[in-house]
Amino acid sequence: MSRPAKVRSQPLVLVVEDYQDAREMYAAYLQFSGFDVAEAGNGIEAIEKTQALLPDIVLMDLALPRMDGWEATRRLKNDPRTRHIPIVALTGHALAGHAEGAREAGCDAFVTKPCLPDALVAEIKRLLDAQGGNAENVKDTARTPRSTKKRS
């Protein structure tokens, strides 16, 4: 498994979300919380940006135009260059089928909207810690989430 040569001071999060308000909100909070943030508005763009930037983690909304989140996830997980990058699925549909579909597509975690920014940050930090301690530089502003439903 190849790791990118570039060593970042802060982990890079790719936020894939077609709803601009939400995308920018998550981006702003992630930056506020000490992450570098890249943004993508659809599935195709998500694959291109992931392949180009090789982010440390991808926050993937499932309902996307042009190519949906499941398909994009499947492609990234089938690509050896991007397979190692954890993907957190983000969906508004809290139905059981969606979680299963996301897991089958290769998502590493699943977060149901609405998700408060600090809950999202906490989940990202948890995944990155599990990956190998790249989040130690992240400023700890997260608070204990109360409305987040963990699906494991």
Partner: protein, 709 residues
């Protein structure tokens, strides 16, 4: 029968018997030729003649004919003819001569039938003085005439003279008359008797002889019968002796001598006076045996006829009674179509006795015309024994139409010709009324059936409509659920942004906020959260109602579940300052059910208890009913309590007892409603036990092992 007294010749010579027999024959004979032949035969038998011939001249003819011969050739017989006018002929001369002559040789032109040249010529006559009626020629007896031949000549001469001569002719005519009379008497089939006044028989015809004279060879019975009949006859005559002058008529019973049966005769007797012989009685018997029998038979027949007539009269009377007693009109018509007999009901229609009303009479005539046309139909249909038809009649009195069914039968004579037509009429008014009612009933039935069918069809249509509506409703419901699911998603996306940015502001991401700003942002945050909770609850209800709440059964312990719920609500418990405890009463087995849904219910019940209990305690208790195989989870608080009237309402949608909008207690008002629905899909129930001020206990009961749905 009386006999004619015959002239008897003196008998000469040796053969007196033969001569007597011959003479007797001659007496009975009335035929010249027959007598002549017999004479020739006798001569041949008793004299030594070679040839013999008898010549006779008959009547006024001058021709002398050969009537008998012996020893003469047939050719000579045929050729011979002798005329009495030929006076030169020696034979004719001999005819008038005084005695028999002997001829020996004749001139060739004088023909004789004999071949011999010498023969005797004997004239046949009664007296020597009279001329002969015929000649007897004899040859072969010699020149001297022998005695036998001479006797025969005389005897035959007398016979011929008797039969042909004038005197004899007269005698024969009288005899013939007698014979004729006798024959007439015999021809009469009735017995005729001539008796003296004592009944002694003088003459009887053959029919009478049969009754009164038994022949010698007759049987004993016959003779006795004849004797008896004679006696009876004499008695009958003597009893009617008085008034004998006129024809007496009486009955006489005699015996049939041959059959022995009785014979009844009518006896007619009359007296006949004869100057010479005195008084005789002529009796005629007429056989009336058959007549009497016939009379008897006729009388018997007549008697039988009388009886039969009486019977027929009785029968007719009975028949009249019977047909009069029949309510249906009966008529008998002859082959002309005229009514010969009808019963009383028929008279009412076709006769209307004692009614003068013009209208009634017209109706009677109309009825008669209708009947006549019907009967004429029957008459034209020869060969059919029965004929059935309908006739329109009218009641003569009221004019009411009277439809009748007419059944006609024909009565044929023994020769097969139609004699009468018997017609019976049957009133059809009732039958027609019944038929009409039946038809109405049938129509009503048909109508009813049609209505039922229509109703059924309508019902089927409605059912189909309902089915379609049901399908449409299901589709609509599914669409609604889908719509709500989609909507809740679409709600969440902006809500996500609202909550997120509020959160960022409160966390000073965009710079420090002032206290009043923070207070406002907190209001936005709490209302947004409430909206989110509502959306989530609506989504749950939608899922449950759409049947899209999948059950995921696992086996779990209730103690652990309690711990988990308690820890999840730990911040609220802390804030509430209530004593929260859990209890497991008795041995509660692990439960097999959908853990997440059970937890959702318990969470809800516990948070409700915390909300509505200002002070005191909240206890969660688990127990098990082994008999019902049921676990119970009770959440008991010491809170405000719920009045009994409201205990049902709390499970309804959007219900809180305090319906003020602020709802100091928070919550969506859908919590218990969702809990009840969840409990139902898990096969359980939620019960409430409460009173105002005395706290509440909500108990969830679940089967220890959920059945598969």
């Amino acid at each position: 029968m009386a006999r004619v007294a015959a002239p008897v010749a003196p008998i000469h010579g040796v053969d007196s018997d033969a001569k007597l027999a011959f003479v007797e024959f001659l007496l009975t004979s009335i035929d010249v030729q027959e007598s002549a032949r017999r004479a020739v035969d006798w001569l041949v038998a008793h004299a030594t003649v070679r040839e013999a011939a008898v010549l006779v001249s008959e009547g006024i003819s001058n021709e002398m004919l050969l009537v008998a011969e012996h020893g003469i050739s047939s050719g000579a017989i045929m050729d011979f003819a002798l005329n009495r006018d030929d006076a030169s002929h020696p034979l004719i001369q001999a005819l008038g001569g005084p005695s028999a002559i002997y001829v020996d040789g004749l001139a060739a032109h004088h023909r004789v039938p004999l071949e011999a040249q010498a023969f005797h010529v004997i004239p046949l006559r009664a007296e020597a003085s009279e001329p002969g009626h015929g000649l007897l020629l004899v040859s072969g007896v010699g020149s001297e005439l022998d005695a036998e031949t001479a006797w025969l000549g005389r005897t035959l001469g007398k016979q011929v003279s008797r039969l042909l001569g004038r005197q004899l002719l007269a005698e024969t005519r009288f005899g013939q008359e007698r014979m004729l009379l006798y024959s007439i008497i015999n021809a009469v089939t009735d017995p005729i008797l001539l008796t003296d006044t004592e009944g002694k028989l003088i003459i009887a015809n053959s029919h009478a002889e049969k009754l009164f004279a038994a022949p010698e060879e007759a049987s004993e019975g016959w003779r006795r019968a004849a004797a008896l009949n004679n006696m009876l006859f004499s008695a009958a005559l003597s009893t009617s002796a008085v008034g004998m002058a006129e024809m007496a008529r009486r009955e006489l019973l005699l015996v049939d001598p041959l059959e022995g049966s009785d014979l009844l005769f009518e006896l007619l007797s009359s007296r006949a006076k004869d100057e010479r012989q005195g008084t005789y009685v002529v009796s005629i018997l007429r056989n009336v045996t058959d007549l009497a029998r016939a009379k008897e038979e006729i009388e018997e027949s007549y008697r039988t006829l009388r009886i039969a007539q009486a019977e027929v009269r009785d029968e007719r009377h009975r028949l009249d009674l019977i047909i009069d007693s029949v309510a249906d009109p009966i008529l008998v018509t002859d082959q002309e179509g005229d009514i010969v007999l009808m019963n009383t009901p028929a008279e009412r229609l076709f006769n209307a006795p004692g009614i003068d009303d013009e209208m009634a009479l017209r109706r009677v005539r109309a009825n008669g015309a209708n009947l006549t046309s019907f009967v004429s139909n029957v008459l034209t249909r020869s060969g059919e024994q029965r004929y059935r038809g309908e006739i329109q009649l009218g009641d003569p009195l009221t004019g009411r139409p009277l439809p009748v069914e007419a059944v006609a039968g024909t009565i044929l004579s023994e020769q097969g010709e139609l004699m009468w037509v018997v017609t019976i009429l049957h009133d059809l008014t009732e039958a027609i009324e019944k038929a009409r009612l039946y038809e109405q009933l049938k129509q009503a039935s048909v109508e009813l059936e049609r209505k039922v069918q229509e109703a059924t069809a309508e019902l089927a249509e409605q059912n189909e409509l309902l089915r379609r509506q049901h399908i449409a409703l299901e589709q609509a419901s599914a669409l609604k659920s889908q719509f709500l699911a989609n909507m809740s998603h679409e709600f969440r996306t902006p809500l996500n942004a609202i909550l997120g940015y509020t959160h960022m502001l409160l966390n000073n991401v965009t710079g420090q906020v002032t206290d009043p700003q923070r207070k406002s942002l907190s209001r936005i945050d709490s209302n947004a959260r409430h909206l989110l909770a509502l959306i989530n609850d609506i989504l749950d209800i939608t899922r449950i109602e759409a049947g899209r709440m999948p059950l995921n059964a696992t086996t779990f312990g209730l103690g652990e579940l309690f711990d988990e719920v308690q820890s999840e609500l730990e911040p609220i418990i802390k804030r509430s300052n209530l004593a929260v405890s859990t209890k497991v009463r008795g041995a509660v087995p692990p439960v097999r059910s959908d853990r997440q849904k059970v937890k959702q219910i318990v969470l809800n019940l516990l948070s409700n208890a915390l909300k509505f209990t200002p002070a005191g305690s909240v206890t969660m208790t688990a127990s098990y009913d082994a008999r019902l195989r049921q676990v119970a989870i009770a959440v008991t608080d010491t809170g405000v309590g719920i009045p009994e009237d409201d205990q049902v309402k709390v499970f309804e949608d959007f219900r809180q007892l305090d319906s003020s909008p602020a709802r100091g207690y928070g919550g969506t008002g859908l919590g218990l409603s969702i809990c009840r629905r969840l409990a139902q899909i898990l096969g359980g129930t939620i019960e409430l036990e409460s009173a105002p001020g005395a706290g509440s206990t909500f108990t969830l009961r679940l089967p220890a092992k959920a059945r598969r749905r």
